[in-house]
């Protein structure tokens, strides 16, 4: 009995501690979507904004939001954020539960599923009547935010993919730096050159880029052939032969030892950036989006990281298209006007640019990306220059159809089967085409 009393006392203590410590607004903050519906600028309005990110980004975004609230004292912005994976789990649940934030961060890999299921508000009108001013955005940036020809998301930071290398490592190996406009032949030759210079069994010229996701590498390859992963109306945009030649090329590289074997690749597939193959020196090249250049640069004590384009096809077309992080308004938002004001501020205001800099790539607005250059570290400046240089090559890239998740899975699975030596390239390609066709047709 004495023990029970002791324990119970302990709980009361803990309870008391907890209660006093969180006396500042704990249990009864109710959700706010029941606010007044008016868009009258003198009424108090509350909107919710969610994003994915790390501690650094959270600071930046909070600062931007604070400035917005200063400028519009009648609007309060409630902030919600999480890590990448958690963000999407939570967003899906919130939308399914009818409780989604007003402004959400959006991404190309998810927008098709969200937009085509009616979860996002169409923004064409808001753009047309200037509520969201995109007059300074390059055409390709605006297009990047369209699904089925309707604008559903606005780019907050844009980026372009490319291949990166470390000057110090190349100097050490005695290999010349790759050219900006290198071709696939150049690429293969460079891998061979690196392989010859690298002395160990444990290091490779390049990571395996043949599988994984459909974008960006495979998609760039297809676009150079004048094709694409999917057509405008959601069918497959390529033939089996294209896939076979792509997978054969990479399988070849693996057989020659230019790229890691399947097991090593799998081991590093999900490691954090600090441990990935490029940072730990296991591979000499890496394919990354330009906005991550500075993140990688920080991991190196010597040498400069520079970027070159995705390898091109001599007689092929330009393959570039914009990658970005976006902002959308959810369909059920009760304050679309205020939400639009917020988005407009985020992508156009000088104060916002100054804080954002290149957090997810430079601002999409041409003025914006020029403006932020002055605040940047060298690595970021190189990244922005790279983006500005490759931007003119970009042309529209249709958003994939619904159900692409399954196709992506089939792509990764079948390629892995090749990598682990279980099937031939022919068989894997055949299996993939069958699965993919059954999903889109």
């Amino acid at each position: 009995m004495k023990m029970k009393a002791l324990l119970f006392g302990l709980f009361l203590l803990t309870l008391a501690f907890g209660l006093t410590a969180c006396s500042g607004g704990s249990e009864n903050t109710s959700s706010d979507t029941k606010d007044e519906k008016g868009s009258n600028s003198s009424e108090k309005v509350e909107i919710r904004f969610s994003w994915w990110g790390d501690t650094g980004r959270n600071e930046v975004y909070n600062a931007i939001i604070d400035k917005f609230e200063e400028k519009h004292p009648n609007i309060t912005v409630k902030r919600e954020f999480g890590g990448w994976g958690d963000y999407w789990d939570k967003l899906a649940t919130q939308i399914a539960g009818g409780n989604a934030p007003d402004v959400v961060s959006m991404h190309q890999s998810y927008v098709s599923d969200y937009a085509r299921r009616g979860a996002l508000l169409q923004l064409d009108d808001a753009v047309k009547n200037g509520e969201i001013d995109l007059s300074d955005f390059p055409e390709s940036a605006v297009d990047a935010g369209k699904v089925d020809d309707k604008i559903v998301m606005i780019a907050k930071g844009i980026t372009m993919p490319g291949w990166a290398y470390n000057t110090a490592l190349f100097d050490e190996l005695g290999v010349e730096y790759p050219e900006m406009d290198w071709t696939w032949d150049d690429f293969a030759a460079k891998l061979a050159e690196l392989d010859a210079a690298i002395d160990s069994d444990d290091q490779f010229a390049s990571p395996d880029n043949g599988g994984g996701q459909l974008e960006p590498s495979f998609r760039h390859y297809l676009r150079q052939l004048g094709k694409d992963t999917f057509t405008e109306d959601g069918k497959l945009g390529f033939e089996k032969e294209d896939l076979v030649s792509w997978w054969t090329m990479w399988d070849d590289f693996r057989k020659k030892g230019y790229i890691p074997d399947a097991e090593t690749g799998a081991e590093y597939a999900n490691v954090p950036l600090e441990q990935n193959m490029f940072v730990t020196g296991k591979v000499a090249l890496t394919q990354i989006p330009a906005n991550q250049l500075s993140l990688y640069q920080e991991q190196f004590d010597s040498g400069e990281l520079r970027m070159v384009r995705m390898p091109v096809m001599p007689d092929g077309e330009n393959s570039e298209y914009i990658g970005a992080a976006f902002l959308s308004i959810t369909e059920k938002s009760k304050h679309p006007k205020e939400a639009a004001m917020f988005i407009d501020y985020f992508v156009n205001a000088k104060e916002a640019w100054e804080l954002f800099k290149v957090n997810q790539g430079p601002p999409a607005s041409t003025d914006g990306s020029e403006f932020v250059k002055q605040f940047l570290e060298p690595a970021d400046q190189r990244a922005v220059s790279f983006i500005q240089e490759t931007l003119p090559y970009a042309h529209p890239a249709p958003v994939p159809p619904q159900g692409v998740g399954e196709i992506e899975q089939a792509f990764a699975d079948n390629y892995d089967a090749i990598a682990f030596g279980q099937v031939s390239v022919e068989e894997a390609a055949e299996a993939f085409m069958e699965t993919a066709k059954s999903i889109v047709e």
Partner: protein, 296 residues
């Protein structure tokens, strides 16, 4: 009349004590459970209303190669991992129960792995131990053996996860210890006096008296093992790789539901799992009559 009154009284009392659980079940339990059953017969992408499709999901599941694979992976994990973990837990509990000096410290230390759950630290360390250049391979190379990449070879990846489960035996161990403490010491002393050795005491006294606890741990570990989800993230980052060798059933379910927006299909997957678990649990319950001993 007196005994009748008593019986009636018991009915009422029983429900009184059960009331909190009943309220919870009727207000917060039955609707989600019922919904998921309903959704399993529909095509539901979470954002648009569900459409009735009857048994289509179930039919598709049985033709789904990935599903069969996830079943295989899960069965291996359940029927190798759970018993292995419990054996360890019981063995260590019995050892610690002997009154070893520093018992408390050891018990706390052995519990530490369970505190880590599926955290990032474990993921990093598991790679450091079982990876291509990991500690295990470094150890093997001393003997001239070249180890494979344990954590990313399709044949061995699942076993690194089984080892993870066994390593986290702390929770069932604590429960075993609590159960062992319930066994009165004088029983052992009397048996020692009667000439029974430690092993005989273990089988004739310890095991029968803690059989309700063994039963509990067995049922719960199996139920949990069937639904294991976080360990997969440790090895494959949620992809179930390499080559789906760590694609746990609930991981596949999560992929189908949240990543591929096929919540109807995922619900059907869930109910098939429920039936399987219920079946295995029922078998264990039936068998319990033979080996579980209650002092009632």
């Amino acid at each position: 009349m007196a005994s009748l009154k008593k019986m009636w009284r018991n009915n009422w009392v029983g429900y009184l004590f059960l009331a909190p659980w009943l309220i919870g079940f009727f207000f917060l339990g039955i609707i989600p459970i019922g919904s998921s059953l309903y959704l399993s017969f529909t095509s539901y992408d979470m954002f648009t209303p569900a459409e009735w499709t009857g048994l289509t999901n179930y039919a598709e599941i049985f033709a789904d190669k990935k599903w069969w694979n996830s079943v295989k992976v899960t069965l291996v994990y359940v029927f190798i991992g759970a018993p292995l973990q419990l054996t360890f837990a019981l063995a260590v509990a019995v050892l610690l129960n002997r009154g070893i000096k520093g018992l408390r410290v050891y018990r706390a230390i052995y519990y530490v792995p369970s505190l880590f759950g599926g955290s990032v630290a474990v993921a990093i360390l598991w790679r450091q131990i079982f990876g291509g250049d990991g500690l295990i391979n470094q150890f093997l190379s001393v003997f001239g053996i070249k180890g494979t990449n344990w954590i990313s070879s399709p044949d061995t990846a699942i076993f690194t996860l089984i080892i993870l489960t066994v390593w986290q035996f702390g929770a069932p161990m604590v429960i075993f210890l609590a159960g062992l403490k319930q066994v009165p010491n004088d029983l052992y002393e009397a048996a020692t006096i009667d000439g029974a050795g430690k092993i005989k005491q273990f089988f004739k006294i310890t095991l029968p008296l803690i059989s309700p606890i063994i039963f509990f741990n067995l049922v719960m570990q199996i139920i949990n093992a069937f639904q294991a989800f976080t360990p997969a993230y440790i090895v494959s980052g949620g992809s179930g790789g390499p080559l789906d060798s760590t694609l746990f059933y609930t991981l596949y379910l999560y992929q189908k539901g949240f990543t591929q927006f096929q919540m109807g299909y995922a619900s059907a997957l869930a109910w098939i799992l429920l039936i399987a678990i219920a079946f295995v649990t029922a078998l264990i319950f039936l068998s319990s009559k033979k080996w579980v001993y209650y002092q009632e």
